[in-house]
Symmetry: C2
Subunit: 188 residues, 2 copies
């Protein structure tokens, strides 16, 4: 089944962007190759604000065969300027997407759209690049307001510039509490 | 100079506790030794809520020579039940603490007290144990409302149960932008 992968760069305090939408604090280490990940996906999901931010940074969509779906409550639905605007419940949209053959799908955003996807339990993997900066304020990757979700850590790696790469896989059901070689108590 | 080290366990979405104050989601991997850290500190700083949570989990203070300072706006200042209640600006308190000889100081809390310490730029190191759970809501380690602060990643390590240990050192002044072998742009 096609996986939905939430992936983005964040500040140490969990922001995907400044309140202005700027992402100047993010950086891409030269030793942090995303090549394998890029080749594993063939569709993008994002919110309208992430589209704006991506375009501001020179990102463009529509040049490849990978469709970019932009969730928006204000834009008319339909395909234009390389992207496809959609406005439907995430669960319905993802069900349709999974009916089609294809590779995995990159959920590029955070904020409200990420919350809606976590609420509907549609995120299968998380890929974070954490930069060593506390912003102090900004747009959160994980805004409050969805049920608890368990994950499994699949990568924990350090890259140059102090980028910490953490990757997770969603654990659903009984497996979530199993096989933890740990004592269940607080750290003090 | 004695360093102030903010250290705690958090959920993947950055919470130190549930809204109820519970920390049942945290765990301590058997392979994650804190021995070296414990031997490097000889004083604790926390907020009153963290004291309550620590006591609930069986933690006690006053048994050793390491004083525990509890910031509280509601409790009368002074020493009792193994801790010392304080109510003064963090910068003044830390300046006095640093005048005394001693080891490093463990800032155990998050939330409002962490924000006040970041605002006054009093945190020298951060030690996080990130558990692979999205809580969906809780008490944040880094509540919004302080100026941007740059750090250097000093450890990025995986422990059993999927605990990701990230450690950082505060970089102050001109060094903060130097020596990053990276291209300064967004991740897309």
């Amino acid at each position: 089944m096609r996986k939905i992968i939430l992936g983005c760069g964040i500040s140490l305090d969990g922001y995907i962007a400044r309140l202005t939408g700027d992402v100047d604090f993010l950086f891409m280490p030269k030793d942090y190759s995303q090549k394998e990940f890029f080749s594993s996906i063939d569709a993008y999901i994002m919110g309208r604000k992430t589209l704006d931010a991506a375009r501001k940074m020179g990102g463009s969509f529509g040049g490849s065969k990978a469709p970019a779906y932009v969730f928006s409550r204000s834009q008319p639905v339909g395909k234009r300027e390389g992207v496809t605007f959609v406005n439907q419940p995430p669960a319905d949209f993802v069900a349709q997407l999974r009916e089609k053959d294809g590779k995995d799908v990159w959920h590029m955003g955070g904020g409200e759209l990420a919350r809606a996807f976590f609420e509907a339990d549609l995120i299968d993997e998380i890929r974070l690049g954490i930069v060593p900066t506390l912003l102090g304020e900004g747009i959160p990757l994980f805004p409050a307001g969805f049920p608890q979700r368990e994950f499994e850590l699949t990568e924990c790696k350090r890259y140059s510039g102090g980028l910490a790469s953490l990757e997770y896989r969603r654990i659903r059901g009984a497996k979530s509490k199993a096989n933890k070689n740990v004592s269940r108590r607080g750290r003090r």
